[in-house]
Symmetry: C2
Subunit: 344 residues, 2 copies
Amino acid sequence: MKQGIIFGGKSFEHEISIVSAITVSKKITTIETFIFLDDKHRFFLIPKDKMNAKTFSSFAFEKCTELFPCHNGFTSKGIFKTKVDQTVFINMVHGGDGEDGVLASLFSFYNIDFVGPRTTASVLSFDKYITKMYAKELDIDVVDYVLLKRDEALDIPFDYPIIVKPLSLGSSIGVSIVKEEKELAYALDTAFEYDDQALVEPFIDGVKEYNLAGTFAFGEWKLSFIEEPEKESFLDFDKKYLDFSRTKSAQEATVEENLAQKIHEAFKKLYGNYFKGSMIRCDFFVIDGKVYLNEINPIPGSLAHYLFHDFPTTLSDTMQDLPVHRDIKASYHYIDKIHATKGK
Amino acid sequence: MKQGIIFGGKSFEHEISIVSAITVSKKITTIETFIFLDDKHRFFLIPKDKMNAKTFSSFAFEKCTELFPCHNGFTSKGIFKTKVDQTVFINMVHGGDGEDGVLASLFSFYNIDFVGPRTTASVLSFDKYITKMYAKELDIDVVDYVLLKRDEALDIPFDYPIIVKPLSLGSSIGVSIVKEEKELAYALDTAFEYDDQALVEPFIDGVKEYNLAGTFAFGEWKLSFIEEPEKESFLDFDKKYLDFSRTKSAQEATVEENLAQKIHEAFKKLYGNYFKGSMIRCDFFVIDGKVYLNEINPIPGSLAHYLFHDFPTTLSDTMQDLPVHRDIKASYHYIDKIHATKGK
C-alpha cells in the first residue's frame, strides 16, 4: 500500500493546507504521492521534488498532470493514462472541502482509502454549533454560546468581552474579540464575510488551554502528550500560519494526574466511533478544574505531529486500520414481487 | 433550466428509490432527465420511456449510456460525448448515498444543482442519534433513547416493550418492537445487520402520529397539510414500500389549531438554515399534548407529494431557490510574504 497526501482545496485555509502538507511530507519520507486540489476543484499530481510553496503561488502546478477521481483512485485523461491506485491518502485539506465532509464523501464514493474525518465526523467538528451539541450530548462542558444569523437582530446575552467566530472556519480566520458593544457590528461583519452564521461566546481572558491529539487503531488508544499552547498565538493568523509549518516537538505541559485523566476521558468520548480513521486534536479550556471543549480539529495543522513521541508509528497505525465499508448489493425482491402479482 | 431526477444508490433502500422516482416522474411530467446510480456507483442515463421497474430488475439499465460527474453536470466517455448540464436534479436516492451526505457532497464538489439535503443536513437527519441531539438543542422533545454499539454489554434502562432501530437507516428496515427481554438479542442482531450501532427507545403503543412536509423558498414557508399516517404501516416494510409509490393525496388530519401550530413551529425550527434546498417531511409523536420529534425524512418517499395541495409549484419553487455557494479564490498572501522575508 502506497502513501499519499491530498492538500489544497477551495477554502480560506488553502495556503495553510499547502504549508501543512509540505511539513508532513518532510516528516514522513515514505509518502510518495502528492495530489493538489486547486480552487477550481481540479486535481494535480505534484512530483515530490516540486513540493514547495513556489509551485503553488507561481501556478506552476497547472503544468503538472491533471487527475480525475475514479473507482479506487485517480486517473488522467488521454491515451497514456497515469493511474494512482492502491494508495492511502492523508487528507490534509484544512477547512472547506477537507473538513466539511466533501472530500470524505468523494473518497468514500470512489472507494479511495484515506486518513481523515468521515462525512459524519466532519460535520460534527466543522460546524461549531453542532460541535457544541455533540459535546453536551456526551456530558462534556462547553462555553456558553449563541448563534447569530446574518440580518438577524442582535441580542447578546453575555457581558463583554465576547468572542465572535464564523460558524464553520478554522485557524482563527474571521474571529474577533469584542471588548465593548460598539465594536460588535464590525466583528460581525468580519465573521459574515466567511459564513452566514456566527457563534458568539463570552471571552474568558487568561483561560488555561490544553491540547491533546490522538487516534484509535488496532483496538488501542494512541494519544499524544498534552500541550499548553502559547497564549499569544490565540488569535493571530500569521502566528497560527507558522504553527502549521512547525517542525520541532512541542513542550509537554505539566498537568496534574487527575486533570490529565479528565482531558483523556473527554478526548476518548469525543473521538468515539465517529472519528475512526482520523487523527484529531481536541483543544480544551480548564476553568476551576472543569474541562471544557473548545474545538475539535479533525485535521490539525501538520497533523499535530509535534505532540507525539512517535508520530510515524501513530500515523502508520491509523493508515492501516481504517473504517471498513459495508458492501451493499441492490436487491430487486419487491419489484419482482409486484411483477409477479401483476402476472407480468 | 432543465429538470432531472437522480435515484438508485448503493443502499438498502435502492429499490424504494426506484419506485419513488418512477412515482415522481409520473406526477411531474416536466422532468426529462433520469440518472440512475447503481450499486457499483456507476451512473446511467435512462430514457424517459424506460422509466419502469423492469429496466432495473432486469439489468437492462446496463445498456444505457454510462455517465461520469464533471464540473456543472455529467458527461459520457468516448468521442461523441453525451453531456448533461444546466439541469437541476431532484435527489431521490433514499438511504445511503442519498441521505448520508455522499451525493450532496459530490454534487456540491462538481457544482451540480440539486434539491435535497446538503451535507450537514444529511448528517443531522440520517444518523438518528445526531437527530436527537439536534432536536434537543432546538428545545424540541424527543422520546428517551440509548445508543448501543455492537459487542457492547446490554443495559436497557427502559421497561418493555422497546423499539430497536439501526442507527442510520430509513423505511423501517431492521427495526423491531421488542416485547420482552428474551426477544432482545434477536432484535439487536437484526439491527446490527444494517449498522454497527443501534438506537433503543421505549415503545409507546398507540401513540398519536402526525406528519408534516414542507420547504422554505423565496423567503416563505411552504408547508403541506398535516397527515395522521395509518397505524398499521408502522413497521411493515412491504406496506411502506407501497407507500413510496402512492399516487393519491393523503387525508388531511383533523388537528386542533393549537396543536397544529406547535407542529408547524417545530417543523420550522428543525428545517432552519440547514435544510435549505430540500423538501423534507418531519414525523412527530404527540403525547399529552406535547410534540415529540420522531424523525426527519430529508428525502421522503415520492417527496411526500401526497401531502401538498399544490405539489408541482412547491417543488418548482424549491428548485428555483437553492442555497448559493460562496465563491472562494485561493490566495498566496502568506506564502508570498515568507518568500519575501527569505529574500527569494
